[in-house]
């Protein structure tokens, strides 16, 4: 079946990824660990663009870029160099951005995503290196702002800009592309996606195969899907009302969930690129084989291996390999208990509870899930009790083996209490009659008997409830 796209929706994405796992910025030795620090405390003459300063490229940044390019199935260019992209804006103190222009380090790759009807290939046009500009903060609202505050701590951070072809057909596909990209980058350990500004998205959107509109400043994945849904709806409505879509740049207003025309003048796109004279060219072809060899197993390969090695369902394999930490967690569990059972507990149950609470796999230990699975497997607790234990560990802390006891979840215990209640009620016909006649206190006599029979192991309140339930039957 060919996926139908009657509205001719085409989406291309430009994703800026900040390589915050590097120790230093792209062209200087300033630390990348600035997120909790005062403004303008991670800057030097190079990243401030002071006269006479000389940028020198971070070797590891280049290796990271090659690693990313290879993971995205790109070709790595033999010789590359940086260019100056001139534009006048206070987020760049130099008046230009150092970026790669005609020889991006990686080009012509692809990312495979799950489309509406099976796998779809999204072509990656290029992935190039550039420096991040500083951060601007408007004093008050943009409309009534009295000025702009500039913090250059971010200025000079290494960015990889990953540009796709307009191959996505819906906001959902765009979201899947972004999720897959993040997953791959997580595997490569080149960035921490949880840090502010680690991934930023610009999108090109067109409908009915018309002109494309660029939507800028999308700061989250959720935001990307919302921005695209809005923009597609806006364009379709505009065309239906007889309007014409013009080439323009729009800004996504996250708070209101709408895109706004930026009315940028055409002239501003006149960047006057020229080769960066302060940085010499790079010849990196000889590094490619080594980096390729050291590339970790990536999500798609891992998924296939999980299916064949552990015999688990594709759905489970997918859920388990999206995040590298979850994949590693699962493999540890699967080495100790039946892999199929482990897949159900980790992918369906544990991940569900974690997602519900919006926390990561680090909140749980392999040891604890193995304990829970073991208890269920040995028929000591019910599956439902297992889930209850996981919830208790996540919400209140504690160890599963203690929670089992404190909550009286052991099936054996349960049987003992049930039997004691049965006996106590049968042995106390008078007390039962008294209670039913309105003498509430006589219930205590029966509960006391239950406690006696279980040698105090039953929970008194629970015993009381059970006796009550038994009598009123």
């Amino acid at each position: 079946m060919v996926y139908e796209n009657p509205d001719g929706v085409k989406i291309g994405l430009e994703v800026h990824v900040q390589l915050n796992r590097l120790n230093t910025k792209l062209f200087c030795g300033c630390s990348t660990d600035y997120h909790n620090d005062e403004p303008n405390t991670h800057v030097c003459p190079v990243c401030l663009g002071l006269p006479g300063s000389l940028p020198v490229i971070n070797e590891r940044a280049v290796e990271f870029a090659i690693k990313i390019g290879l993971a995205l199935n790109c070709e790595i260019v033999g010789q590359t160099q940086f260019h100056r992209k001139n534009y006048y804006y206070p987020d760049l103190p130099k008046g230009f951005q150092t970026t790669q222009y005609d020889y991006p380090i990686a080009s012509r790759g692809k990312i495979v995503i799950e489309g509406e009807d099976g796998e779809r290939i999204i072509r990656v046009t290029r992935a190039h290196m550039e420096e991040d500009p500083g951060r601007l903060q408007h004093i008050g609202t943009i409309e009534k702002s009295k000025g702009t505050l500039i913090n250059y701590n971010r200025s000079g951070m290494t960015l990889i800009e990953i540009v796709s072809e307009p191959d996505m057909r819906s906001p959902k596909e765009a979201r899947r592309y972004l999720d897959k990209l993040r997953s791959i980058l997580d595997y490569l350990d080149v960035f921490n996606g949880d840090l502010e500004g680690a991934m930023r998205v610009d999108a090109n959107v067109s409908v009915f195969n018309g002109e494309r509109v660029e939507v800028k400043n999308i700061s989250s994945f959720k935001g990307a899907e919302r921005a695209l849904l809005y923009e597609i709806m806006r364009q379709k409505n505009h065309v239906r009302r007889g309007g014409k879509i013009v080439l323009e740049t729009r800004h996504f207003d996250e708070a209101r969930g709408v895109t706004i025309s930026m009315r940028t003048k055409e002239e501003e796109h006149d960047y006057r690129y020229f080769p960066e004279p302060d940085l010499v060219p790079m010849r990196v072809a000889d590094r490619v084989p080594g980096i390729l060899k050291a590339l970790p197993e990536l999500p798609d390969a891992k998924r296939e291996r999980f299916i064949s090695q552990y015999g688990i369902a594709d759905m489970h394999a997918r859920a388990l390999t999206t995040e590298i930490r979850v994949a590693n967690f699962y493999e540890e569990v699967a080495s100790q208990v039946d892999p199929k059972t482990a897949a159900v507990w980790v992918a369906d149950i544990l991940k569900g509870e974690l997602n519900y609470r919006d926390i990561g796999i680090d909140a749980f230990t392999v040891e604890d899930i193995v304990t829970v699975i073991g208890l269920v497997k040995e028929d000591k607790i019910t599956e439902q009790s297992g889930v209850q234990i996981i919830r208790t560990v996540l919400d209140e802390g504690g160890r599963p083996q203690d929670i089992v006891v404190s909550k009286g979840l052991l099936k054996v215990e349960d049987d003992i209490v049930a039997k004691a209640v049965e006996e106590a009620v049968a042995e106390s016909p008078e007390a039962v009659a008294d209670y039913l006649a309105g003498k509430e206190k006589s219930l205590n006599f029966i509960v006391g008997k239950v406690m006696q029979k279980t040698k105090g192991r039953a929970d008194a309140r629970e015993a009381r409830e059970r006796v009550l339930a038994r009598i009123s039957k």
Binding site: T41, I57, P90, L136, L149, E267, V284
Partner: protein
């Protein structure tokens, strides 16, 4: 060919105010530079490898090792436009 209008545009991009009477002079000078490049274009460069950079060296790298940054007060020392550790610019649309 660089016209007076082009000079104005280039000036706008560079945020340089160019007065009407200066435009003609700049256009003339820039055109003579362009002429010179036109002459260079006529040179036969068949079989000559392109020069990526004026210096014939490649791969000058730096290890990913942290060096001390500048103290905030030094960073902001040369500007009167500052607020709470930030540089302060006029309102940006």
């Amino acid at each position: 060919m660089i016209t007076k209008e082009k000079v104005g545009h280039i000036g706008w991009l560079a945020r340089i105010e160019i007065e009407e009477k200066e435009s003609d002079a700049y256009a003339e000078k820039l055109n003579s530079v362009l002429d010179y490049f036109g002459q260079l274009d006529e040179v036969d460069t068949q079989g000559v490898a392109p020069t990526y950079h004026v210096m014939d060296i490649v791969n000058v790298f730096r290890k990913d090792e942290v060096r001390e940054s500048m103290p905030q007060d030094v960073v902001l020392a040369n500007t009167g436009h500052k607020q709470e550790g930030n540089f302060k610019a006029p309102r940006i649309m």
